[in-house]
Structure formats: structure tokens, C-alpha cells
């Protein structure tokens, strides 16, 4: 937007006022901006009430919460809830499942968007490229509920698409060995295309002259990807990897819960589902909060570790 298009013209009085604006006291500047503070008031209040007060309420993880007494007056029980969680019969199973689903998920779903965007970026037919992008983004806009419905129907032993193709009658969702694959593969199907956006945007910044020069030197497409595109993507890819590694305990609740059956629990039982079941279904508020807090604590430790690694790596990689 160029300046000349503005419908507002600066009058003589205005420019006099402009020169007066600078060098005012803090109090005057705050008064000047009262309307902006008024705008901020609503989001600030909502954030205090629904974000900061719950943060303060985390202390019920160390108390025996009683709704009549509230967050701060319920009796103190120390680490009882945590100890109870560590002694829970499914504790190790949940830890293992949470970490494994995340780890394998990261292993598969991290490289695929990078590879896809490297390929899409080199396609020279713009209309085709656009169609590919549009279709690849589509699953991201579909509700997890519909995705899980599709998974259930496709994997159904009677007339499900996969069984029709394989000519079998296997009920995949009752097989605990299949759960992680189902979870991760459907995740890739839904979000790998969406994950390309950030990489495609990065690749769009590559100087076209660089490709021209490479072409003059006789570089093939593969060599251009290897020597121009990959180095360009590397910083962004490392950043994404670090962020993802920091969230390794964050297995999404929704899909696991919807796809869980009694028979695949050996691999589908994860902490997030436990937090929901104990807290919302069984109303064990303090216990559930303690389990959630334990999960968050591991995440924070992981985040600090990967941040350390990142700052070390950045000395080598980025400078």
C-alpha cells in the first residue's frame, strides 16, 4: 500500500501537532493511548481468568481438592497423588506408549513434509503445482472425528476398504500391534501436506539467479535440490525438529481416545487419555491435575535440554 493512496491528508494544523507529539511525559503518553488500553482490557481480563487463575490452580495437585474450599484452602497432601500415579498398575505402560507414539510419529512425520516440499518446489507447471498443494492441504481442514470415522470404516473387517484391497477380514483396530501404525499413518495423511507450507514459503525465497547459475553449470534437478534447496531448508527443519522434540510427551488426546478399544489398550493407553478419564469421567480432580503436571514437568525438562542442544548446534550450523 503506497502512501499516495491514503484518503487522509495531513493538514497544516496536523503537522504542527505532529511536531508536538514527541517529548511528552509517560503519564501523558498513557492518557493519549487510553483507547488502546480499553481495547486490551477484554483480552487481558479473559486471559487472567481462564489462563492465569488455572495456572494458580495447579496447586491442587498437592492438595486434596474440595470444591467447597477451593484452590487455596483444600488440605495439603504433598506428593501423595504423584506417588499414587507412579504406583498405578498401568504407569509404565502409559509412559512407554506416550513416548513411543511420539517418537515414532516424529521419526516418520518429520522428514515427509520436507521431502514433499522439495519435490513440489521443483515442479515447473504452476497450475499443476497449485492443484497438488490444494489437495494436499485438504485433509488438514477435516475434523478429527471424521478422520477417525474414516479410519474405522476403512479398517472394518466386514467390507472395509483396506480389507477389500488385501482380500482379508482383519479387525485392525483390535490389534494392539497395529495401533501405532494406524495413528501415525493417518496423521501423516492428514497433516504432511499442511506441514509443507512453511518449507515451501522458505524455498520461495531462494534467489532464482542461483537456479539459473546452477543450470548453466549443467546441474540436474536432483543436484539443484541437493546443493541449493536442502541447505536453504536446513535451519527451518532443525528449528522444527527441536520444537517437536520438546513436545514429545504431548500425544494428542482426541485421536487416541476415539480409536482406543479395549483390545488395543496395550499400545493405545497414553497419559493424556488417563488425565481425561481420571479428571472428567471420574472427577478425581487433584489426582488428574497431578498426572497432568507430571507430564508437563517432563516436557519442560525436555524443552530445556533441546534448547541447550539447539544453542550448541546453532553455533555450528547457523553462523
Amino acid at each position: 500500500m503506497r502512501k499516495s493512496e491514503t484518503p487522509v491528508r495531513i493538514s497544516a494544523a496536523g503537522s504542527a501537532a505532529l511536531s508536538q507529539r514527541h517529548g511528552r511525559t509517560l503519564g501523558q503518553r498513557i492518557l493519549d493511548n487510553w483507547q488502546l488500553y480499553a481495547l486490551l482490557a477484554i483480552p487481558v481480563i479473559l486471559t487472567v481468568v481462564y489462563k492465569y487463575i488455572p495456572m494458580y490452580g495447579i496447586q491442587i495437585a498437592f492438595r486434596d481438592f474440595d470444591s467447597n474450599l477451593g484452590f487455596t484452602r483444600s488440605p495439603w497432601v504433598g506428593f501423595n497423588w504423584f506417588i499414587r500415579f507412579f504406583k498405578a498398575p498401568t504407569f509404565w505402560r502409559m509412559m512407554k506408549n506416550t513416548v513411543l507414539i511420539s517418537f515414532y510419529g516424529l521419526l516418520w512425520s518429520f522428514p515427509i513434509p520436507i521431502i514433499l516440499s522439495l519435490i513440489i518446489n521443483q515442479v515447473r507447471f504452476h497450475r499443476f503445482k497449485r492443484v497438488v498443494q490444494t489437495v494436499l492441504y485438504a485433509p488438514h481442514f477435516i475434523s478429527v472425528m471424521v478422520i477417525c470415522g474414516m479410519i474405522k470404516i476403512f479398517l472394518s473387517p466386514s467390507g472395509g476398504l483396506l480389507n477389500l484391497i488385501l482380500g482379508t477380514q482383519i479387525d485392525f483396530l483390535t490389534q494392539s500391534e497395529a495401533f501405532r501404525t494406524i495413528y501415525i499413518a493417518s496423521g501423516i495423511w492428514q497433516d504432511a501436506g499442511w506441514g509443507c507450507i512453511i518449507y515451501l514459503a522458505t524455498l520461495a525465497n531462494v534467489d532464482p539467479g542461483l537456479y539459473e547459475a546452477a543450470k548453466m553449470d549443467g546441474a540436474s534437478v536432483f543436484q539443484r535440490i541437493l546443493n541449493i534447496d536442502i541447505p536453504e531448508l536446513l535451519p527451518m527443519a532443525i528449528l522444527n525438529l527441536i520444537m517437536a522434540a520438546g513436545g514429545i510427551m504431548n500425544v494428542g488426546f482426541e485421536k487416541v481416545w476415539l480409536l482406543q478399544t479395549d483390545l488395543n489398550k496395550a499400545t493405545s493407553d497414553v497419559i493424556a487419555v488417563y488425565v481425561y478419564q481420571q479428571g472428567i469421567e471420574n472427577a478425581k480432580y487433584s489426582y488428574s491435575t497431578a498426572v497432568g503436571l507430571f507430564n508437563t514437568a517432563i516436557n519442560i525438562v525436555l524443552l530445556i535440554i533441546v534448547n541447550k542442544i539447539a544453542s550448541k548446534a546453532s553455533d555450528v550450523q547457523f553462523v
Binding site: K3, Q35, L36, V49, Y50, F141, G149, D217
Partner: protein, 302 residues
């Protein structure tokens, strides 16, 4: 870029023409993998469920029928779920976008006293939160449970998106323009309404679509806060797609009247998924060209 010098001269690699073909071929395969499951559901929604079960609908509908859609739109639960979802999506989208704008705009003003602290106040909530139960207890204590506002208010400001919008205000709306309009007598609020908002339409469109998709697809918040009242479409679908599947599987073994009932249930599954997915699939291509821009605006430090 030092890497360019690493490119070898006179490569014996593939010609551009051959590699074009390979690239297009790979893209086409990926395209089919992504599109086919959706296409299959669409085809099945128009087909006789027996033919779907028999594997006759891989490419085209078999026993073409509109019965499924007729049943879907005659089902009071699905219809009310659909209408609830429309209501929540419209109100929620307006709420979210207004919240984003009234937060991002003041914080984009470099001369606003306390700007850094207020920004930090919001950004902290991106990394730390109260978790499921403390948040639930606060929502309950503030009397929102059972009301549609429980879907909007606790979400507050989407901080990540707010930063994207703030950066857009900072980098793409000329500060002179804002200053000029203020000097000519517009109040801060007036400037925001008549100068800033019209200039930020691309980012507004993207944010509106993101919010729309989030509210249309949300069911978890509705499940824990609404207490069964005014269920949105995805929660109604849960009853149809997830809970019922074990029962229908058994029913499919039984013939006769049961099978007839079951036939319609099976059709409804496909049709209701299409009804739930299609509105958003129609919406996003309109703002697709702004996606990359939106992401890059977020990547720039502000």
C-alpha cells in the same frame, strides 16, 4: 550462498525433461494417495451399502442413490447438530477475530507504554497453562458450563495467531498512514476501524478461515463443557461413527429387517462425514494464496 559453488560442472544427471516427468509422476501419486480416501467416501455416500461392502465402488458409485442424504437431512439429531455447529462457528469466528484484532493492534504500536510487558503477559500462556482440570474448574466456577460461551471465552486470545496479526500490522501497514489519520482528528479507535482494518483484509481472511475451521471441527470443548446440551455436529457424528460401529458390525451379520435398518445406518455414516467435511473443504481454497504469507509474517520477529 557457498553451496552453489559446490555444484559440479557438466553433470551426467537427468535432463530437465526427464526430471519434469519424474517430479510430476511423484506428485500425481501423492495426490492420489491423499485424494482417494476422500473420493471413496464421496462415492460410497451415493452407493448401495451392499455394493460398498462387496467392493464394487472403488471408482464409481454403484446402485446410485440419494437415500443417505435424504436420511441425513431427515434425522433431527444430525440437523440440530449441523445448525448448532453453524451457530457456534459463526459466533466463535467473530469472537476470535475480534479478540485477535483488539489484542494485536494495540501491541503493534511501538510507542504504547508497557507494550513489552503486556506482550509477555500473553506469550507466557503459549508455554504454560493450567492444564485440563484447573481450567475446567474455573470454567465451572464462572458459571459457563452448559452455555455456548464456554466454547469461546476460555480460549481467550489465540496467542500464536495474535503474533502473526501483530507482525502484519507492524510490517505491512505504513505507520505514517496511521499517524496521519490521527493527526487529522481521528481517534485511535476510529483509525483502527477505518484505516487499519480495511488494510488488513488478507490476514483477516486467513485468520477468519482458521477460526472457522477450528470451531466447526471442535468437539472436545463441547463434550466437556456443554454437558450434552446443544451438541455440535462432530459430537453427533461420534454417536454415529465411533460408538455405534461395534453394534452395527454385529447387526450386519443378521439378515432381514435388521439388515435393512443397518443399510441405512451404513449410508448415513458416509453421508454425514461428507456433510461435516465439505463446508470447510469449500472454504479454504479461497484464502490458500495467503497461507504462506501468513506463516512468514509469524516467522518475522516483532
Amino acid at each position: 550462498m557457498a553451496s552453489a559453488s559446490a555444484v559440479k560442472k557438466k553433470s551426467a544427471g537427468l535432463s530437465d525433461r526427464t526430471s519434469d516427468i519424474i517430479l510430476v509422476a511423484i506428485c500425481t501419486v501423492v495426490l492420489l494417495i491423499v485424494a482417494y480416501p476422500l473420493y471413496y467416501v464421496l462415492v460410497a455416500s451415493f452407493s448401495d451399502p451392499y455394493d460398498v461392502y462387496a467392493g464394487k465402488t472403488f471408482l464409481l458409485p454403484s446402485g446410485f442413490t440419494f437415500d443417505g442424504y435424504k436420511a441425513v437431512f431427515a434425522d433431527p439429531k444430525i440437523v440440530s447438530g449441523f445448525l448448532n455447529s453453524v451457530k457456534y462457528t459463526v459466533i466463535g469466528t467473530i469472537f476470535s477475530v475480534v479478540m485477535l484484532y483488539i489484542t494485536a493492534y494495540p501491541l503493534a504500536q511501538k510507542d504504547l507504554p508497557g507494550r513489552k510487558w503486556i506482550s509477555l503477559f500473553f506469550v507466557i500462556t503459549m508455554y504454560f497453562g493450567g492444564g485440563l482440570i484447573p481450567t475446567y474448574l474455573v470454567v465451572k466456577a464462572t458459571g459457563l458450563t452448559g452455555s455456548m460461551w464456554s466454547l469461546f471465552l476460555p480460549g481467550g486470545v489465540g496467542v500464536g495467531n495474535m503474533i502473526i496479526v501483530r507482525n502484519y500490522f507492524q510490517n505491512s501497514i505504513p505507520h505514517d498512514l496511521v499517524e496521519a489519520s490521527e493527526i487529522d482528528g481521528c481517534s485511535k479507535f476510529r483509525t483502527f476501524l477505518s484505516v487499519v482494518i480495511p488494510l488488513s483484509m488478507p490476514i483477516l481472511a486467513v485468520q477468519a478461515v482458521f477460526a472457522m475451521v477450528a470451531y466447526w471441527n471442535d468437539w472436545f470443548t463441547a463434550m466437556i463443557y456443554l454437558g450434552g446440551k446443544g451438541e455440535p455436529l462432530p459430537l453427533v457424528l461420534r454417536g454415529i461413527l465411533i460408538k455405534s460401529s461395534a453394534a452395527t458390525e454385529q447387526a450386519s451379520m443378521i439378515s432381514g429387517g435388521y439388515a435393512e435398518l443397518n443399510k441405512q445406518t451404513e449410508l448415513i455414516k458416509f453421508c454425514s462425514m461428507i456433510v461435516a467435511a465439505v463446508p470447510m473443504l469449500i472454504a479454504y481454497p479461497y484464502v490458500q494464496k495467503y497461507f504462506e504469507k501468513g506463516f512468514m509474517a509469524g516467522a518475522v520477529k516483532g
